[in-house]
């Protein structure tokens, strides 16, 4: 990415401030309300941190233990799904791009297709598939990674394909081949570094999708973060808001860090002297 000059059609500072300020304010209301909600002490009114301290001093004991277990399940699922999807998708897309460009339309159609099939529809058909699968592989949470692989496919595909379109993969790989690189080193040292932005973005969105997935897990009776939150909400409407806030913040930070990773790497590449990463 080259540094962009001030865009001619961009809004002025004032207009920008007004637009972003007002939309930001409206969107902050529910978050503020969540925080206020968790600080209420009893029906008498007044605010304190009793609910927060109760949750943390109890060490996530009792009913909240299940949330921790479910969180572990979800994180494991997210990692598994990302690995599964990237391992399948990146080589396939490169192969289609370089060797079989005619298949591109088909590939795009197949990858985008899951977006037009709502999870709630998919689950109607997944129920029988999983009852067979449960007999073969057990009913572990990890089996959901296959279903989630399908759910995140369109997101991962679009992120990687957009990057692929912006990079002259053909010239790069042929240049590398001419200079004597084998296909493995072309892939690992030329193509993947050039596609890291798209790959990271794909991973980024996939993790968010898996951590936030509720429909399939809920209707297949698997214990993930989202389903456990609903269970807690039936018992304690206040604590579930604390947990939701924590989960939203965690997801936000996660996405921020992953997004940051991409730019830090490009930054240090352009100015190699300012590296110094531990």
């Amino acid at each position: 990415m080259t540094p962009v000059a001030p865009v001619a059609h961009a809004p002025t500072r004032l207009v920008r401030g007004l637009i972003l300020g007002s939309i930001g304010l409206v969107f902050a209301i529910p978050i503020v309300a969540m925080v206020e909600f968790t600080l209420r002490s009893g029906l008498a009114g007044g605010h304190d941190f009793s609910r927060w301290t109760a949750l943390f001093q109890g060490g996530f004991a009792g009913p909240y233990r299940a949330v921790l277990v479910a969180l572990g399940n979800s994180v494991g699922l997210a990692v598994g799904t990302v690995v599964l999807v990237l391992l399948l998708l990146v080589p396939t897309l490169l192969l289609v791009h370089l060797r079989f460009p005619r298949l591109r339309r088909l590939m795009e159609f197949v990858c985008i297709l899951p977006i037009s099939i709502p999870a709630i529809v998919l689950v109607v058909g997944l129920a029988p598939v999983y009852s067979v699968l449960g007999r073969l592989l057990g009913s572990g949470v990890w089996t959901l990674a296959f279903a989630y692989g399908i759910t995140v496919l369109p997101f991962a595909y679009r992120a990687i394909q957009a990057n692929l379109d912006g990079v002259d993969v053909r010239t790069l790989s042929e240049a590398a081949r001419t200079l004597g690189a084998g296909w493995v080193s072309v892939l690992l040292r030329v193509l993947i570094p050039n596609l890291r932005r798209g790959i990271l973005a794909g991973a980024f969105i996939s993790v968010a999708v898996v951590l936030g997935e509720f429909t399939i897990a809920s209707l297949l009776n698997r214990n993930t973060l989202q389903t456990s939150l609903v269970v807690v909400s039936k018992a304690d409407p206040y604590t579930v808001v604390i947990l939701s806030l924590l989960a939203l913040t965690f997801a936000f930070l996660l996405l921020l860090v992953i997004g940051r990773l991409g730019t830090v790497r490009t930054g240090s590449r352009r100015r190699p002297t300012t590296g110094g990463q531990p």
Binding site: V32, I120, F214, T215, F252, T266
Partner: protein
């Protein structure tokens, strides 16, 4: 791939055409004509259309506001992550957020009642019914619009603005004669995507309304989970078929518009 996408879809659609004994039948599909089911589809359409239009307009304005921000600046980083969280991750938690905001004891409800004397639930509590879904849905539609529409807006070629200025055009000519026509396919495409997103969304509605099923995804839930009524599982298949038809039409429209939008994004 085949096992986890095509097989479930075929089963989902296929069960719409078979009765309990496995014989082919149109009966369950005919159940789509049931007034309750028709109402659910109408509700889903209305909810999706309303939240998609509002979300698309507000989201597009937000994208315009973000145009000047540096692509890797802190503002963009925060907005990108926040949009990602709210659009993809929100689901169940947005339901709790809105219970805390406009629930019976929610902050906004209480402030409006105690300070301004306005009781938003004067005509009964609507948060756990269809109207209650509108605000939470808009809350995740706007971020999705930012995610899908901002790249198109950023791909506007700065040279066009310069060419416009060189040829004596002003800001209005630029927006109405150049930018809007170029952006129109992207905008309409995003609008369709938002519609599809709301139409297929389940988590927020499921967490918010534990009883009743005013929209199609919730009807599928009750068809799947209640085993008391005969042939309910097949009804889920028929409902799924109906949803796939709607999604098919919407998403074909989306891909046509995307192809048109790509013309200007070389």
């Amino acid at each position: 791939m085949l096992l986890f996408l095509l097989v479930p879809t075929l089963i989902a659609v296929g069960t719409g055409f078979v009765d309990e004994t496995g014989a082919f039948t149109w009966d369950t599909v005919a159940a789509l004509g049931n007034p309750v089911v028709v109402d659910a589809f109408a509700n889903s359409f209305g909810l999706s259309a309303l939240t998609a239009v509002v979300g698309a307009i507000v989201g597009a304005v937000a994208c315009y506001g973000l145009l000047g921000a540096r692509e890797h600046g802190p503002l963009r980083a925060v907005v990108d992550s926040l949009s990602g969280v709210l659009a993809q991750f929100g689901g169940v938690m947005l339901a709790f957020a809105f219970v805390a905001t406009i629930g019976i004891q929610g902050l906004v409800t209480v402030v409006l009642r105690d300070t301004f004397g306005v009781d938003i639930f004067a005509d009964g509590v609507w948060l756990y019914e269809l109207p209650g879904l509108v605000l939470p849905y808009i809350y995740f539609q706007v971020p999705l619009m930012i995610i899908t529409f901002l790249p198109a807006l950023q791909a506007l070629n700065p040279h066009w603005a310069e060419a416009n200025a060189t040829l004596g055009g002003n800001r209005a000519t630029y927006w109405f004669r150049i930018a809007f026509p170029v952006l129109a396919p992207s905008f309409l495409g995003s609008l369709l995507l938002l519609f599809a997103n709301a139409f297929s969304s389940y988590a927020t509605a499921a967490a918010l309304t534990s009883q009743g099923s005013q929209i199609v995804p919730l009807q599928i839930r009750s068809a799947l989970t209640s085993e008391t009524l005969l042939g309910r599982e097949n009804l889920a298949g028929a409902l799924a078929l109906g949803m796939i038809l709607v999604m098919g039409v919407v998403m074909s429209g989306y891909s046509v518009l995307q192809a048109r939008a790509a013309r200007w994004q070389r």
